[in-house]
């Protein structure tokens, strides 16, 4: 199985670098960026499978990144990892299509489990869509891909 293309987005550099190091030790390398702007650029240059995204960042905040990435790349799974969001914020993120919502501090294995689950779901959707497309059922294939929107 190919490696997960994972993008970590957080303006807390110490936190996100340590997190990346620990994920690498678990054989899950990742790309790290420190702002919403960099996140959008990173998604444009190489579409990730899963994004772990902080919400409050200077400049373009996480919610805006979530909105934009879900519009441009609906198949990318986005996991929110935030300091202490309120229930209302969690609901908003989920309504915008966030795959999961974790509060900091999070257990690394719990986070990794979510990332793997998100990746598996993405692969399954892609495989089902490909099967329909191979059978000539392009509309059904497109519907499956659009379900992510």
């Amino acid at each position: 199985m190919r490696k997960i293309k994972l993008l970590l987005v957080d303006d807390e550099e110490n936190f996100v670098n340590t997190l990346a190091e620990r994920l690498k030790m678990r054989d899950v390398p990742s790309k790290v960026v420190y702002s919403g702007e960099e996140a959008l650029e990173a998604v444009k240059s190489e579409v990730p499978d899963v994004v772990v995204l902080d919400l409050r960042m200077p400049g373009i905040d996480g919610m805006e990144v979530l909105r934009k990435v879900r519009q441009s790349n609906p198949d990318v799974r986005i996991v929110i990892l935030t300091g202490h969001g309120t229930d209302a914020i969690e609901e908003e993120a989920k309504n915008l299509g966030a795959f999961h919502y974790h509060k900091k501090p999070v257990d690394i294995d719990e986070l990794l489990g979510t990332v793997k689950k998100a990746y598996r779901e993405k692969l399954e959707d892609a495989m089902v869509a490909a099967t329909f497309a191979q059978a000539g059922a392009f509309k059904e294939a497109q519907d499956i891909l659009d379900e992510d929107k």
Binding site: E12, N14, F15, T18, L19, E21, R22, M25, D54, L55, R56, G62, T82, G83, H84, G85, T86, D87, A88, I89, K103, K104, P105, V106, I108
Partner: protein, 237 residues
Amino acid sequence: MNDSRAAGGDGRFLGAVTAAACHDLMNHFATFSQALGLMEDCLAADARTRLRSLGFKGGFEHKERFQELIAMLHGQLERAVGLTEALALAAHSVDREGRDVPPPEAVRALLVLCERLLKRRKVTAVLDTAAPAATPPWPALRQADYLGPVLEVLLACLPHMPMGGELRLACRAGAGALAVTIGPGEGRFSDDARAACLGAARAAGVEVAPGESLTLVFQEQPTSTPASCPPDAGQAS
């Protein structure tokens, strides 16, 4: 209810600042937590290297001591996170209507924050979670409307509690009011404790229901709409 300070601008300002600081603290705690986790990972990696080399290579002399210290720091971190969560919850009290945080949860947060004060007399405070089967919707009260007076009553009662005693609290809703009952774990309050509690309740302008138990009653305030506060205060980070 005459806690005008809590309901006013100062209260809102402090609530917003505290909530924002709590969210920042959570970010710091997350960094501590990951750094501790990385130390554990490094120790585990070291152990694997040693195992692979049949014990001839690697091996950190102080590994066990480090593991103990890391576990201790994880424990402290857990306490700090619990306190910060409780503080964040209580800090929102002056910014918002209480509808989104059920009063039992808010009172529980208050008790977490008071733990150190209670410990001075080795008193434990327990929130009764056995809620009545049919709980009507909680009344629209700012948390500050009831948390402040409950705290004042607890503080007044504490010096009169026996060392190692227990306080039991319960929240009930009914007819547009919130009732918070405070009592000792067993039996009834001493006359001194009861008088101190009643005095604190009166000073806070809170209605006390007649009866053996000490029940503070907070009526829903139709005009208790909070003024605006900084929109970003208390948001996620």
